[in-house]
């Protein structure tokens, strides 16, 4: 725990008048938020220079607790909104907080094109395998055979691997971590924030109250330990047999490229046109 007891004080970054918060006991989203704020603290980015854009769902509600410039926008659209904000205000460090439904289902098209453009935004997607806020419906990342309110006989759809999608679409940096490894998650987020380009970080979160309860996955301690046993920092397994979701998920920084950042490329293109 020594790293957790560093000079970082999460209260410096929270709107405490908003407490008590709405998260269920044991929910992983709070830990993800902690890791994000910790990363920001270590990078010493001033609160006034940050802008958080979030969509709809449990993930989308996190912004309201952050003592910064926060935008809680429409379902699935935080990346579209953030694209405009970042282009208008390159001086702001724009961070998107989204969920698996927000980012991969209703907002999937925006994710693909945000990766392709490579604008300097950091996107933290909280993957809890379910639509928690609406009561627990199946999402594009719900594991096989899991029960949700709209898969009462078990989930029969293949699972989306968001990191592979982001990498293939050209994201500047792609990473994944679980909430149990908070310092590691903080480090992946730091890499994302430091990278000059579009960074996509998937956080394997746990929805204890809705998804966990429905599938009898135990309490949050049990859920995160199960998660830990299903990730490998050293690579994918079974990718041939199960192309959509391997038995083991890779964690850490998984992809990186140095393609030109969108806004810089735009400015350079315009400058050369004006001179030419």
């Amino acid at each position: 725990m020594s790293e957790v007891d560093s000079k970082f004080n999460i209260r410096d970054y929270l709107r405490e008048h908003m407490f008590p918060h709405f998260l269920c006991p044991g929910c992983g989203h709070g830990i993800a938020l902690r890791a994000l704020l910790w990363a920001i603290d270590e990078l010493e980015i001033p609160k006034d220079k940050l802008a958080f854009v979030s969509g709809i769902g449990c993930s989308g509600r996190l912004g309201a607790y952050i003592d910064s410039n926060t935008f809680h926008v429409t379902h699935g659209r935080p990346l579209a909104f953030a694209t405009g904000l970042k282009l208008a205000r390159p001086d702001l460090e724009v961070i998107v907080i989204t969920g698996d439904g927000d980012c991969l289902a209703i907002g999937g098209n925006h994710l693909i094109h945000a990766c392709r453009r490579n604008l300097n935004i950091t996107c933290m997607m909280l993957n809890n395998e379910v639509y928690g806020m609406t009561g627990g419906q199946v999402s594009p990342t719900t594991s096989s055979n899991r029960f949700t309110t709209t898969t009462p006989h078990g989930n029969y759809e293949p699972v989306f691997d968001a990191c592979k999608l982001a990498e293939a679409a050209g994201a500047g940096m792609v990473g994944r971590e679980i909430t149990l490894q908070t310092p590691a998650l903080k480090n992946v987020l730091k890499e994302g924030l430091s990278h000059n380009g579009f960074s996509f970080v998937e956080v394997m979160s746990d929805c204890t109250e809705v998804f966990g309860r429905k599938n009898e996955l135990g309490d949050s301690a049990e859920m995160v330990l199960t998660q830990k046993s299903s990730v490998r920092p050293d690579g994918y397994d079974n990718t041939v047999e199960q192309p959509f979701r391997p038995n083991f998920l890779k964690t850490g920084v998984m992809a990186r490229n140095d393609r030109p950042e969108y806004a810089a490329a735009y400015r350079q293109h315009i400058m050369s046109m004006k001179e030419g």
């Binding site: 908003m18 609160k47 006034d48 220079k49 802008a51 854009v53 912004g63 309201a64 003592d67 910064s68 410039n69 926060t70 935008f71 809680h72 926008v73 429409t74 659209r77 990346l79 579209a80 909104f81 953030a82 694209t83 405009g84 904000l85 970042k86 282009l87 208008a88 205000r89 001086d91 702001l92 098209n109 925006h110 693909i112 094109h113 735009y266 315009i270 046109m273 004006k274």
Partner: protein
């Protein structure tokens, strides 16, 4: 890129006049998606914006372009997007966000025939009600219907002035025929154009509330990075910007939101009248159709028929007060529209006793002709 600062006369098509009007108004961010018959607006913006240090981006879809302009507007830029029927439908959710979170933006809808994919290259006036009520819930919105290319230029500038000062989305609504019509536009010296800007909050205090407004009902805007660190949400919010379900705060918010345009009625209102002083018969007409009506009225007057015209330029909120006075002595009202009868529903609300109101509708992708209107005027006059 053209030199946009030099005053002169330009022969422009409507969609290009819209783009140049936007730039003259200070628009420096445009996000769009290709759609007939509005694409020329995006094309002209992509050509001109870099020259004025603006940003053009073609987004992945209609929804994204609407989202992007809202993000850029909250960042501090004057913003616009343009579309047509199907795209206008897709933009509705984020338009509601703009209305609720009070984010200035201008959205152009160049109307084509509907429903659905409809008649992409043919004119129509079928989105009159959608422009007012397309997004869910009670909300404020301004809709402007120019009737000529020079008016598109002027009204686009006015649309930005209204959006910025009243913190409201403004729709510029015209049809394919005007969008592709060429007319002469007077490009004025930039110093002689009236430009209104949003008011930025400047004093960071502990008690600052981003959605608290004074008598004018318009809260000052908060620029991210200025130290306010406020919250913006599409959830119903209290003056402090945070979500609330307290019935009293919800009412306060809705009352202010829905009352603000009425409070600034003088700014918002816009209409033209022709020969209404002694009129017994009134034509209510807007956009391309009003051009045919103007000609028909001239010809009817030459025949001694006492007919006039009321032309809303600001279509929504409808200029009700002015219209009530004008319609009071009228016996017959004719509402020609290139739809199955949309604005006529609004006109019915102001019907004085003993007044007959009827429509003249065309939904075949063609414009209404002066002859069609003149024939009906003659019939109505003969029946008197």
């Amino acid at each position: 890129m053209s030199d946009l600062s030099e005053p002169r006369l330009l022969n422009l098509e409507g969609n290009h006049a819209c783009a140049l009007g936007a730039i003259a108004a200070g628009c420096r961010f445009y996000a769009g998606y290709p759609i007939t018959p509005s694409s020329e607006i995006a094309e002209r913006m992509s050509k001109e914006l870099p020259g004025v240090d603006g940003i053009f981006i073609q987004m992945e879809d209609e929804i994204a372009s609407m989202g992007a302009i809202l993000g850029a507007s909250m960042g501090g830029m004057k913003v616009m997007t343009a579309t047509s029927g199907p795209g206008f439908s897709l933009k509705q959710e984020n338009l509601g966000y703009a209305a609720g979170a009070e984010i200035p933006c201008v959205v152009v809808n160049v109307m084509r025939g509907g429903p659905s994919t409809g008649l992409p290259t043919r004119p129509a006036q079928g989105d009159i009600m959608q422009a007012r009520w397309g997004t869910h819930g009670d909300h404020p919105i301004i809709v402007i219907t120019p009737a000529s290319v020079p008016e598109i230029y002027e009204q686009t500038i006015r649309a930005f002035n209204l959006a910025e000062t009243l913190r409201v989305p403004v729709i510029i609504l015209y049809d394919e025929a005007i969008g592709h019509l060429r007319e002469t536009v007077e490009i004025k010296d930039s110093n002689s154009i009236e430009i209104n800007n949003r008011i930025w909050a400047s004093e960071v205090t502990d008690s600052f509330q981003p959605y608290a407004a004074g008598e004018d009902k318009i809260p000052e805007m908060v620029r991210p990075g200025d130290g306010f660190r406020t919250h913006t949400t599409g959830l119903t919010h209290a003056p402090d910007g945070f979500p609330t379900q307290d019935p009293e705060l919800v009412s306060q918010y809705m009352d202010r939101l829905l009352g603000k345009l009425g409070h600034h009625g003088d700014l918002v209102e816009g209409y033209e009248t022709i020969e209404v002083e002694d009129a017994e018969l009134l034509v209510v007409s807007y956009g391309i159709t009003s051009r045919a009506a103007r000609r028909a009225i001239k010809l009817a007057r030459a025949e001694g028929i006492k007919v006039g015209m009321f032309r809303p330029i600001t279509l929504w909120p409808f200029p009700a007060e002015a219209f009530k006075e004008i319609i009071a002595p009228i016996k017959n009202v004719l509402v020609p529209e290139m739809n199955a009868g949309q604005l006529i529903e609004e006109i019915e609300r102001y019907r004085p006793e003993g007044c007959d109101i009827e429509g003249l509708n065309r939904i075949d992708g063609e414009t209404i002709t002066p002859e069609q209107i003149l024939d009906r005027i003659r019939e109505l006059a003969a029946n008197e």
